[in-house]
Subunit: 433 residues, 4 copies
Amino acid sequence: MMRILFSILLIGLLSPPILAQATASKTDEISGNWIFSVQFPEETETHRTSLQVADNKFTGSLGIRKIEGSISDSVITIKFLNPNGMQIATGTGKLQEGILKGEGDLSGVKFKWSARRPAVRPEGGPRTHTFTPTEFHGAFTHTIPAVLRIFPGDTVKTKSVDAYGMDENSALRAMGGNPVTGPFFIEGAMPGDTLVVKLNSVRTNRDWARSGQSIVGNALEPGYLMNLKRAQGFNSRWKLDKEKGIAYLEQPTDPLKNLTIPLQPMLGCVGVAPPAGFVIRTRDSGVFGGNMDYNQIREGTTVYLPVFYDGALLFLGDGHAAQGDGELTGAALETSMEFEFTVDVISGKSIGTPRAENAEYLISIGIGGSLDQALQRATTDLARWLEGDYKLNSTEAAIVMGFAVKYDVADLVDTQVSIVAKIPKTTLAQLKQ
Amino acid sequence: MMRILFSILLIGLLSPPILAQATASKTDEISGNWIFSVQFPEETETHRTSLQVADNKFTGSLGIRKIEGSISDSVITIKFLNPNGMQIATGTGKLQEGILKGEGDLSGVKFKWSARRPAVRPEGGPRTHTFTPTEFHGAFTHTIPAVLRIFPGDTVKTKSVDAYGMDENSALRAMGGNPVTGPFFIEGAMPGDTLVVKLNSVRTNRDWARSGQSIVGNALEPGYLMNLKRAQGFNSRWKLDKEKGIAYLEQPTDPLKNLTIPLQPMLGCVGVAPPAGFVIRTRDSGVFGGNMDYNQIREGTTVYLPVFYDGALLFLGDGHAAQGDGELTGAALETSMEFEFTVDVISGKSIGTPRAENAEYLISIGIGGSLDQALQRATTDLARWLEGDYKLNSTEAAIVMGFAVKYDVADLVDTQVSIVAKIPKTTLAQLKQ
Amino acid sequence: MMRILFSILLIGLLSPPILAQATASKTDEISGNWIFSVQFPEETETHRTSLQVADNKFTGSLGIRKIEGSISDSVITIKFLNPNGMQIATGTGKLQEGILKGEGDLSGVKFKWSARRPAVRPEGGPRTHTFTPTEFHGAFTHTIPAVLRIFPGDTVKTKSVDAYGMDENSALRAMGGNPVTGPFFIEGAMPGDTLVVKLNSVRTNRDWARSGQSIVGNALEPGYLMNLKRAQGFNSRWKLDKEKGIAYLEQPTDPLKNLTIPLQPMLGCVGVAPPAGFVIRTRDSGVFGGNMDYNQIREGTTVYLPVFYDGALLFLGDGHAAQGDGELTGAALETSMEFEFTVDVISGKSIGTPRAENAEYLISIGIGGSLDQALQRATTDLARWLEGDYKLNSTEAAIVMGFAVKYDVADLVDTQVSIVAKIPKTTLAQLKQ
Amino acid sequence: MMRILFSILLIGLLSPPILAQATASKTDEISGNWIFSVQFPEETETHRTSLQVADNKFTGSLGIRKIEGSISDSVITIKFLNPNGMQIATGTGKLQEGILKGEGDLSGVKFKWSARRPAVRPEGGPRTHTFTPTEFHGAFTHTIPAVLRIFPGDTVKTKSVDAYGMDENSALRAMGGNPVTGPFFIEGAMPGDTLVVKLNSVRTNRDWARSGQSIVGNALEPGYLMNLKRAQGFNSRWKLDKEKGIAYLEQPTDPLKNLTIPLQPMLGCVGVAPPAGFVIRTRDSGVFGGNMDYNQIREGTTVYLPVFYDGALLFLGDGHAAQGDGELTGAALETSMEFEFTVDVISGKSIGTPRAENAEYLISIGIGGSLDQALQRATTDLARWLEGDYKLNSTEAAIVMGFAVKYDVADLVDTQVSIVAKIPKTTLAQLKQ
């Protein structure tokens, strides 16, 4: 069977209420804002909630559902109600060291629940953190503990090793396959929100890179593949000259002797912890971003990602000194990077696919199993973006996209491919808002 | 069964020779250059040949095959030999009014053959022709007689009606569906050659256009389509202001009130007669070009097309005042056009898909049944282009494309879709040749 | 621009009527049923009409449009009205030797029109014709004159050469590439109808076949293709033993020494003249059928094809003695065939893709540029078939298809691929009708 | 960057050896067979090895690499060598309670390593285990502890809840989304092996099921989707009559009143722990099997899966009482099941995609992002299967598949789709082996 959401069941089918008994005190200790999680073995649901307390009873909401409960001597009784007030689950728990924690039963299925107070931003406004990574990760997942907890508005200066695991001193720091820096926990980023990652700078910090040297098979016709002879002994190591802003082959063959290419540093990987407990290796991409390998994810670009876990858990890495469309050779000019980014959170706004924005364009990144599917996702998301943020109806969105849409082939080489649909800001500036 | 080429059989299988008897005269009348065609019911093969005559006997070649024959009192006996000298067919014919013409038998299968002298360019070098079309055509096919015979180097000034058949005076001149101007017969363009069409100017010649107003279904996700509500009564007629170089909706809805878009006139259709006798309606595209709807086929761009029939038979039309990538709404800003182009022929060079070139890029246009297939064709052709014209091996081509390739989604709306792979000329300028 | 139908214009935009003047006689000569065609350069529209005559005036309908006219001394004046009575075109013509013929003007665009009396079936009911073909054709097109005119209910016994053009005596009769037998003109088959072709028998008539010997590239992974080594000198000629109903390689390699395969004769090509003037080579397929290469198009199967031209113009050929799914090796066991079929016409019922039926299944044949598109077309057509003929709503159709649909991969090797969706008749027998 | 394997690095690039010092004893405690794992943060590599001990020194191999070491007072020093003897990593560790355990350093990257003795099958030969599950899992992953450890040849009788989490008593036992039974740890199944799962019986154990009631969007044409009206209030709950072997709607609409369908119980999910640390929800599929939703995975079928983790970790569930091809409605007749299976392991044989086998066919299951990609994978694997097990060259494999291959569309509804290529055993029986 296809996907069935926990949410559906929680709203759904379930049985008559058993009213929770409740007595006594601790009122002000549980009154106010919490971050409340319900944990099933492979699925966690997290919500912001504000508990209203009267006597020893409290009420709150978890998204469209409600909770009611009582507290007595730190012992909590709780029930979960669907939108029309029907009880769907019960639980018990404790308040201990400022944390609520307990267990529950949803029609026979056991679960855990917990709540913590939202973190409070330290005084003095947004901060800049310099973070020197000591570990690098080969997977996007909520199971890796955060290396740093930051607040919306904060800036992080950090760096990444190359796709093979080598750092700016050419020292091996992790096994190959796009080891990434992070995860960064963004306080206040909750499932259903959008994480904003502005790349203030993305710069190479080493004087060499290594690239692939054959076009990936799925980008070539069968007839060409069958007769393909690959050159032996070609050396695809590149010299990076940051001063001049160029790269060139260290040992070029004769026809490539004069080739110098402009450095256009980018990050192949920007992603959050994927939804629903998935652990995805850092060579892959999806709705959570990840190894999107889009050459416009670079200095000056802002990336938008949906949040699936408390804190979002942001990973970055896989720097490329330069890359054509689609990362056609499987590996671009792979190198280590130093970069700086500022985060923000758009609360309560959910996006269906990664987005980005630079000085010129709004950008929807469609990721799918084929280029046709990726393009459908990019086009649809861009239409929805215009309909949502610019209040166009579907016909007006079609008119605008009809003359203004541009597509980029972003990534051809991974399990999922991606196509970008983008629209110039000069066009958007003309829309009456 | 899949495709089996006539050529394979002509090279192939066939039976022992019956030597043609031949006598006498007319030597200088048949000596020298001819354009020689062999016609089967649904397939025609045409070659340049040069006949060597001695006594009353002549020899020549048809591509990789050979012909031998004799002429006596204008009566010709001929035999066709495969590359290793085996006779595969015989024929008889006549020389009459400077034309050779006759019939043949290939192992029991009857065919016709004929030869004409190549046209000689009039003195005075390349000419400029002003051609005012009186008919427009709804199909790409070799069966439509040429409206003008021109020579390599010649320039044609002409115009086209819009996709609905309306001309610059808003008069209906043809039924809708991309009626095109032409065909132009280019003397000296032969099957196996490449036709060069340089678009010197492409300009709107009317003050209005009409566009589509909904995104084509295959570019959207199923979930969006299922819930799509289209606005009623939207008027997608555009005012074209050639002076200011802009277009705007004549009756915009409120959110689109301030929308003005730059005119970027282009031709949706540039194509030659398709191979193998196919008749293809002008809404479709293929290896012969056709309705490619690529927004970079515009003033300043040179289009390269493979030649499949004697004279190539060039058609042009389907002007768009402006169009985003992919012609996303099915119809762009459809309008009539005036344009000027110069033709040339690259003899003996065969390309496998349409190509183009502008000030910035070499461009391979991949056309296929899905975006994935179209991209494979574009990528492969561009690799072959680099390997052929820049003498790179496949690894060097991969290196260059790896950092420099750019893709455009050219056309999403027709039976075949297309993706363009292109490479900057600044990169190519660095390749040692 | 995408497709724009002539019909749209004819319904559409056009200008105020100029009333046709008309006088006198010839009433009974034009009264009654006609087959009426309107011909634009690349598009022909044909309708059944019945003319009502009063005095010297007549009226009739052409699909949803109307005609009105008068006749005087064999001279006809006619006007064409759209459904709400607005005049859209005018014409003049003549009645001559039982044929109406003339010219017209649609808002400036010239066209021709003509009408003929429907053929009358000879007395004695359906007939069986034995047709010995002398020519074979390499294209599906309405431009080839019919070789035989038959009536609904008639049966034809005929034969076909193999894909390489060789007949039952191994004599070459046509150039290779699926030369087909026909076209057969079916009286009464009109655009908008469905042609029914029941294959009463399909039998080999020769003792050998030749097959392909490598899997087509688009059915293989890039990695396999890159390392593929093909065996040299393999002989893929098969012996056909009709008595025993088996085939075996004439010169098998050792591992294939014991291989005998059951003869399952089928026709790779069953098609009608394609719509809109297209000429399509017989290696291709489309909405008109054609080279569908589906191994269930065999003895006992009934094929349904949409009709696009007066008489449908049916072609058949490309016999395979046996073939796995998809015609994976590009050529199946190609051989000559003798076969018998009976035709019928379903008037006024239009289908959107070829269909078939055998003892066990209703079959929708989806043809598209990718397998995904082909499957969408097959699934959609089958849903529509159930909704139309079995009066199910879309949910009921989904329920039935959900447990009963079966898919076949019909054809992998041609420009368009095809997937079949089919549903068992045992399931359909349970639907309350 | 694309995938880079740990293995490549271990074979690869690394630096000069530092010879491990080693002394003394414990010989027989470490001599002989071990299961040896090297663990990087997101990647684990496991091999069978046999340690040869002389004095206090030992040697062994890890796949193509070698290890050398010494043991002294339970303290181990170890070095890892690539195939040509170059040292690539060093480590230290301990022997404690029969387990080897330690840490290592690969050119600066830290890792853990460990070794355990292979389990020894208890006396008395293969056993049958009756396992009553108490937990069900929503993900395929190596991180879930095994519920049962079994040996090759062992049989397990167990059961599964339905896709919504309900058991045979209609009690909710887990959250919806295909909760599966397991994982079962198969002793001796190692990465690089093939796990064999023979489904001896698969039977419904409840009298009702619930199905989807609309065709999934990606299987329908855009035009159909745009106009789709879904029936309200349809009840897709089915009655299952195990006695009669049929199912029927509990509250059919009128046209479906007589519909009874044969029970053909199958398991939608059969999968092992995915490679490389991936955690994949049970609605998805991949090279590890998973939610393949192929209706021939049923009683009598043997499933073959590649092994990626020590013990394979087998999960099963998602029973369907009946299902057409592709699980077209997203949910088939979802119900709880009781089933019995026997496992085996093919040591050292690695397969690239799931395979299966029943009385009639060998079956390759191609899983990919589009049907085209899935078909390429299925076709390629089947060719490799014939080449590997039947010693055919690629041409002979093509000949056999050309007339004998059959394709099934297995799964249309999940992130990855699947197509099956299969070949009749009657054909294979004729191949000379």
